[in-house]
Symmetry: C2
Subunit: 300 residues, 2 copies
């Protein structure tokens, strides 16, 4: 079994086929969050800290940290955000940037073994990112596109992933430290993208023997009731062998889908996590349906 070990100064997270699915919280990302972007730019990391705490409380085992703000000093901001998050929580982090200098700055302040997010199959990225990953003994997210873009053919994306795994090995990075993102297309635009991803995840697991991750919410782009689609996607992806996702743990419905999938895959021994979470009526507001039902019961 391929196990990817990621750590903070005091905590380890293991990503693997026969282990509970790993949720990497996606919220600390200024893309599309104007207020957060402005605050981070001004050196105010209070929302970064509260987002970190809220996601861990909601069940994220890891957090993704991104500081992609136009016209800002991304390396410095990413490094500071990582310092803040590591001071506030003990979960391992994914260091997320498209700028190599920012990944480098993040890695230089990170305590533990980080997940670097990400490298693609593009030659220039491979040559810049992989030495950095190797030097810091980190793991890396490998996105299955290259200079030719994102192929609609999942078997072409498999070949890109395979190339990245081979190139990583040349730098001394073992395949257990390459977590492949198969790339999930919006199913509203490409109706076959669900089946494509399941086919690709199964090949990545059975043939390339790597762990996998994805930005899960992309699948529902443009559709109503996105959490419903995201839940169906994650459940099926886990059945196909997906082992982690970068998504928001703050949606109770999505978290329930992941916990239910852990039960169905036999990765929640004695259903202990499920029973602990759902045995008692939920706290007010956390799960409206259940709360309402139990109130009604008391009134009768």
């Amino acid at each position: 079994m391929t196990v990817t070990l990621i750590s903070s100064a005091s905590k380890e997270v293991r990503i693997g086929y026969d282990l509970p699915f790993v949720i990497i919280g996606e919220r600390i990302n200024p893309t599309g969050r104007k207020i957060l972007a402005e605050e981070m730019k001004q050196g105010d990391y209070s929302r970064v800290e509260s987002d970190a705490l809220a996601q861990v409380a909601a069940g994220a085992q890891m957090l993704d940290v991104n500081a992609g703000i136009p016209l800002a000093d991304e390396p410095a901001i990413l490094a500071e955000a990582i310092r803040v998050v590591q001071a506030a929580t003990d979960v391992p982090l994914s260091i997320d940037s498209s700028i190599v200098a920012a990944l480098e700055a993040g890695l230089s302040v990170y305590e533990g073994k980080a997940l670097v997010n990400s490298v693609t199959g593009e030659e220039e990225r491979l040559e810049q990112v992989l030495p950095l990953v190797a030097q810091h003994g980190a793991a890396v997210v490998a996105i299955s596109n290259d200079e030719t873009g994102i192929s609609e053919d999942p078997d072409v994306r498999f070949e890109v992933a395979k190339k990245i795994v081979e190139r990583a090995a040349d730098y001394g990075i073992p395949r257990c430290d390459v977590v492949v993102d198969p790339l999930v297309m919006p199913i509203g635009a490409i109706n076959s993208s669900g089946k494509q991803v399941m086919h690709l995840v199964r090949r990545l697991r059975e043939e390339l023997k790597v762990n996998t991750t994805c930005g899960a919410s992309n699948v529902s782009f443009g559709l109503p009731n996105r959490n419903g689609i995201n839940s169906a996607f994650l459940t099926m992806a886990i059945a196909a062998g997906m082992t982690s996702a970068i998504t928001s743990p703050l949606h109770a419905e999505v978290m329930q889908a992941v916990l239910g999938a852990n039960v169905m895959m036999g990765n929640d021994p004695h259903c202990a996590n499920w029973i602990r979470k759902y045995r008692e009526p939920a706290a007010e507001g956390e799960e409206p349906g259940r709360g309402r039902r139990s109130r009604r019961r008391r009134n009768i």
Copy 2:
């Protein structure tokens, strides 16, 4: 592709791999429903009728009708219930009994091509039920247990299903008219039962090339938040190739899982059903989470 065609006097339902998943409403069943049992025994079918209408309104494409009441004239009651349901709705029916005379009485009044629920791999049942199915040109649910009980080994259950398909062929019943129930064990008791069923469903589809159904709610027996587990189970079973289930369409969460699974499998062209269902804010009470959110938004 194997397609199972079931019909009423005026409507056809097709069960198949590349078609939307078929929900067979389970509610018309007096087991564990004292009031319904008493009413049916007294000749009052008003609840049978309203249960039929409610399930069709909630999205059931077929209805299961069961009249298993201790010390009652089950053949007569089942026949009458079928008459009532066929008068009230136009969906095809599954005629459900463990008593052969009741199946016979149900078939004799049924208009269309019914689904007979069920035959097992037990010699006596095969010899009694299959001629009846052949005589009426019906389809049949084949439950994968035999005289030795229900094996925990899915490959043994596969062999039982194979035997039933072969015996059905001897009676002139084609494999497209045998819908196999792989038997779903409570996952709270047998933690591996989810993986077992997925393995078995995949073999039934790829090797035996039959359609499948199951009593979906059995999987969550004994656990809290049963709809959450049932949703995870159905989503994964559909990904593995399950093509129908006998379950309650009255749980919005379970129906959402099935509709989401149809989208993910590419069996909801242009996501049209999904968009139609979830485009507008849900009616009050139907989906508490969504309703509450939209109210809050209006208040801001």
